[in-house]
Subunit: 303 residues, 2 copies
């Protein structure tokens, strides 16, 4: 498989598609917003007029879109992948973060047209996508995974087959739970440090070296201290992911407490206008709570 | 200062006192439960009959007890440190994790008898105490800190002066917030993985390498997967620490959400009989919630 179709050229998709080009693959691309394909076309990718026309030309299609309905539209819509002509297409690899349950259903529907489906969500952010150092967690048929391994190796570093269809997405759901709650801890700790007049720099350094250490503390904690709310990963996207987590947990009869709470706080961040900021803007909500509720006392103490 | 007094020979105190002995310091010790001093006395430490009698023999006293009232009793009780005879005592170093507000008050009271007080809580657990690799966050007078640095270097590795009296304890409070919420994320993620039939081993490996990574995931996640509830750090101690955090946050007019929730869950773990287990026994509460609430469905799915 030296020719690959790529659908979804957002921040992550474009960077990953570029690494496929650099890895020597021929690329056929499609994106809902045509203009986002421009740079890749300049670099040698070929445009297809629809997912169906793209899928007719390749054995493997990668998808990298936002949410479950987007994947469904690209696969099963009127000009979708499954409406392709011919029978060259063998595998669809979905790098999006979507519902594990819907993933299993999509896999079954595609199997009926002889197409294998791997769920292969990634972690490592825009930097990982650019540098080809993503972690990829793959669910689906183990043999198909081995068949596609060389494609994953062009875009990621830690590539792990985790089990049957949907388990890649389930693993990503677990990942997002921890990422979100680690960040909440960082935000509450930093709010306490700020209110108590403790140097944020010193707090980050001391605690990062010990049992409180995390990726979130090391990376997002630093950005919060610097007031840098630029997205690596957007508030509105973690909200989407946590909604997926919640739906899956409810479906499995697992009531969670931390997830719905932090989901609600991310929603508050969106309501405050931070939906397109990085997830570290959760700190704005935690700090705002402190100010709104006892504003006079707080102002006095901070003065 | 080659002769040091040590009060409080629990799991942490004994290991840290031993490193002082090995570092060439002479040691006078006192502990509420006499028998716990036995090993150190065999290794060369000298027993004192009370904190006051101990304090009369040294320039520096280290304290390593459980909670705020314990520190207060050792300092200001009838036979407490401040009731010492003579005036050789210059500094008290408190390695316990206690209230930042009470710390400031203790420092003021000791100053009246000419004694300096450093708050110097530690992180790194029983292993760090044994190996002398603790992180120590020190609040109090900067000159006094420099004067005592060689003592800290005998028991810790990352030694940081963080600011005025009480800020060491505030920093430890921040540390405990993150440690607790990181662990909650690990527990909820692992409960979801278990319920959904995802391999815990694979989940821990993939997520640990990325943006969800944390000390808690790497260490406590592994113990949860193995069903190992042995304490590094006990549930009843993190409860005590989170109560300190909450009191400090309320005092600073900072309403938090994550902390009281996770504090309540640790209380549930105690109620279930896990108070003397390691903090990773929080997983028992998260998993129990899933079973109690929809027990029949859950059993069916798990069968």
């Amino acid at each position: 498989m030296k020719k690959i179709g790529y659908i979804g050229l957002g921040r992550m998709g474009e960077a990953m598609a570029r690494n496929l080009l650099r890895g020597g693959f021929e690329l056929v691309v499609w994106n809902r917003t045509t203009s986002k394909a421009k740079r890749l076309l300049d670099e040698g990718a070929v445009w297809a007029e629809s997912p169906a026309l793209l899928a007719a030309q390749v054995e493997l299609v990668c998808i990298n879109v936002t949410d479950t309905p987007d994947v469904e539209a690209v696969l099963f819509g009127p000009d979708g992948v499954s409406a392709r002509q011919g029978s060259s297409l063998l595998v669809v690899v979905d790098h999006s973060t979507i519902s594990p349950e819907a993933t299993r259903e999509f896999a079954e529907r595609l199997a009926k047209s002889g197409i294998e489906f791997l769920d292969a969500p990634v972690t490592g952010g825009d930097i990982g996508a650019r540098d080809g150092t993503l972690s990829i967690m793959v669910g689906g048929d183990a043999g198909v995974f081995e068949h596609c391994r060389h494609v994953f190796e062009a875009v990621g570093k830690c590539i792990t087959y985790v089990g049957a269809s949907g388990t890649g997405q389930l693993c990503k759901a677990c990942n997002q739970i921890m990422g979100a709650l680690n960040l909440l801890g960082v935000c509450e700790a930093m709010a306490l440090a700020r209110k108590g007049g403790l140097s944020l720099d010193k707090m980050l350094t001391v605690t990062g070296a010990g049992a409180a250490g995390s990726w979130a503390l090391e990376n997002l904690g630093r950005q919060i201290a610097d007031g840098d709310m630029q997205p690596g990963f957007m508030i509105d996207l973690i909200r989407k992911d946590l909604a997926i987590v919640q739906k899956e947990a409810v479906g499995l009869n697992l009531p969670l407490l931390g997830v719905p709470m932090v989901e609600r706080l991310f929603q508050a961040a969106s309501d405050m206008g931070h939906g397109h900021c990085g997830t570290q803007a959760l700190s704005r909500v935690v700090e705002a709570t402190g100010k709104f509720r006892f504003s006079e006392d707080a102002d006095q103490r901070e003065a």
